[in-house]
């Protein structure tokens, strides 16, 4: 996978990923907990229920997303700096460390399982991304221009 020019250079991109993941979590959490609070409230209390569910839960969802994204970006940058190359293995290693770090208070087994799960998840993401990239390249492959119709030789 070649360098992605739409992203900023490494140390500062951590901040961008933190904010982007946080924003994604907040916006997605508003939809999720809005619907959940609406459905779980009695009739007549549905809109206040949705609002209070959003108020209570959405900052937490945003924070969880933000910490995950920021930690992943930090490890991604660290792995890039150590390996000096950019390929799908970077994301998998960074995912391994991210999953492990987030579960580190749950004990050794929990940390190990979470790290492996997270690495597998990132591996699937990278695989799907590469498949998609191959497919796009195959769709836009260079084509030979169609030859003009061969003119029939003039008969004598």
């Amino acid at each position: 996978m070649s360098a992605d020019h739409t992203r900023d250079p490494c140390p500062i991109v951590i901040l961008n990923d933190f904010g982007g993941a946080f924003a994604m979590g907040v916006i997605g959490g508003c939809v999720w907990h809005g619907i959940k609070g609406f459905r779980n409230s009695p009739y007549g209390e549905r809109f206040p229920g949705a609002i209070s569910a959003i108020k209570a839960r959405v900052p937490v969802v945003g924070g969880n997303f933000g910490v995950w994204g920021g930690l992943f970006s930090t490890y991604d940058c660290a792995v890039k700096a150590v390996r000096k190359r950019e390929d799908p293995l970077n994301a998998i290693i960074a995912g391994f460390f991210t999953g492990g770090s987030l579960a580190i208070r749950g004990g050794w087994r929990h940390t190990r399982n979470s790290a492996i799960t997270c690495a597998c998840l990132l591996g699937v993401f990278e695989g799907v991304g590469m498949m998609f990239q191959r497919y796009m390249a195959w769709q836009n492959k260079p084509m030979a221009p169609p030859l003009p119709e061969q003119q029939a030789p003039l008969s004598a």
């Binding site: 901040l15 946080f22 907040v26 959405v58 900052p59 937490v60 945003g62 924070g63 910490v67």
Partner: protein, 216 residues
């Protein structure tokens, strides 16, 4: 995150910095100075055969945000501390910075609170857990709320920028007031007013600090 919030670029960048110096950045020379072909060839940097080689310019590496899709913002007064390509960059960087600041401040407050609340002659593991519990209680709480506030502020700020076509301190202050009011909007009018005034003051202070740092 441009893949997430794909935004339309407005074609309003007629007055970028390169035009004022008279040199077109794409051509490498000033077109108004040219009258004949020999002048083009002899102009410094005009036609350099080494630049025509397919592998020319590789030693420069990939330059930071030099692609046409990724141009920096040209809005008047919107040049901040770090280069920004538009409202998505402002949103991500602003939210991320404020979130991390809140997390750090809350975490250090929780750290000292935890140090004070360690039970007498507890074993080491219990001490560590007490401190960690206090950090994780205070840090994320402050960080989450600060992050949501910053997110709302940045959304309002960018919306006002786009609406007015320029960025200045009034935009920031009004965006801060609106964000504070929205944050406390379910608590009644009085808390709304307090939060609004506080956020407007914080936005004004931040604009002042940014002006000092940018040397304006």
């Amino acid at each position: 995150m441009s893949w997430l919030f794909g935004s339309k670029k407005e074609e309003t960048h007629t007055e970028s910095g390169a035009v004022s110096s008279g040199i077109d950045p794409k051509l490498g020379f000033d077109p108004s100075q040219i009258s004949s072909v020999s002048q083009i060839i002899s102009a410094p940097g005009g036609l350099d055969t080494s630049r025509l080689h397919p592998l020319a310019g590789l030693e420069k590496g990939v330059e930071f945000m030099d692609l046409e899709d990724e141009e920096l913002t040209h809005m008047e007064g919107a040049q901040g501390l770090i280069p920004s390509r538009g409202w998505t960059d402002d949103l991500c960087y602003g939210t991320g910075a404020v979130y991390l600041l809140g997390l750090g401040l809350g975490g250090s407050y929780g750290f000292f609170e935890g140090l004070q609340n360690i039970p007498a002659n507890a074993p080491g593991r219990l001490r560590l857990n007490t401190v960690l519990n206090h950090i994780t209680k205070r840090g994320p709480f402050l960080g989450n709320n600060a992050g949501v506030l910053a997110l709302t502020y940045n959304l309002f700020d960018s919306a006002l920028d786009a609406f007015r076509g320029k960025h200045d301190i009034y935009n920031s202050v009004v965006a801060g007031a609106l964000a504070g009011a929205l944050f406390k909007s379910s608590r009644g009018l009085k808390p709304m007013g307090y939060a609004s005034v506080l956020m407007a003051g914080a936005a004004a202070a931040w604009t002042g600090v940014k002006g000092v740092l940018l040397g304006q």
